[in-house]
Symmetry: C2
Subunit: 186 residues, 2 copies
Amino acid sequence: MAKQILKAGTSLTPIPASIISCGTVEGKKNLISLAWVGIVNSDPPMLSISVRPQRHSHQMIKDSGEFVVNVPTRELLEAVDYCGNTSGRDVDKFAGAGLTALPASKVAAPIVAECPINLECRVRQVIPLGSHDLFLAEIVAVQANDEVLENGRLSAAKVHTIAYCSGEYVNVQGGLGRNGSHFRKK
Amino acid sequence: MAKQILKAGTSLTPIPASIISCGTVEGKKNLISLAWVGIVNSDPPMLSISVRPQRHSHQMIKDSGEFVVNVPTRELLEAVDYCGNTSGRDVDKFAGAGLTALPASKVAAPIVAECPINLECRVRQVIPLGSHDLFLAEIVAVQANDEVLENGRLSAAKVHTIAYCSGEYVNVQGGLGRNGSHFRKK
């Protein structure tokens, strides 16, 4: 179990390989894959995304104050990789990735139909941190496909997603029980 | 692919089931399991953790301005569950979870020896969000076990970690290729 000291870096894992959608369904819209995404508050439900100011989506999100975090499944790995390695200045990413924009329920930004979980977000605060700007946003609505739900709530065993680990994608599959269940068993 | 609109909530997945250590190796120290953890900046490398003010670790981290994010493997699931469902006011969590405190390289907070990746952090900013306070911290050093490294860098295929999904733990295993490799293949 020998430890090595590495260069300080962003070696946290697993973090969520996510597709963020912004703009409007009928007008200009864009997609960007991000893994610098995380839950930051329970009440009100909030998450954060970090975006480089140079990215095309950065200005769109700053202007509208709205975006959607779409959770892709394993089958969408190519689309995730495409949306993270192209720019909306050059291509129509919805067309290029073969993804469908649908109306959200509470924000103007589209949801991605093919992603089984969609978190509709409104920006509350933007904090410049250096390479990235941190967008702190309230989750104002959640949509989910029937196939990832059990008794109306998200079922970990049914969601086969993708994580990110230091420049690589990782497989996420298989429920390991509820929070508190392993401890109580002891 | 019918969508249901759920109650707005923290349904992002996968997010990292992490063990945070704080305090000092020789003095008072504590552990807390958190999944409200995420990378927020690349340069300088930064992450965020969100902690309820009521938690014992909250005051310790606020006082010292330092903590370590330890990435647990699948084998440590019981320890993760224990550290998330007990309080350092009542128990010695290192003893209770069977975990070992070792000195970090750049902060006073201990690292957890059994976790193969340890991110040493210094708090830069604390932002109250409601139920949780957001700690924005710089990653000042990273330690990793030999067995998760390949040519001196983290190898996704070798790290078998735990994610969190809406109150459940999820299995993370198996590299799916590097960022950019799926897109270029097309």
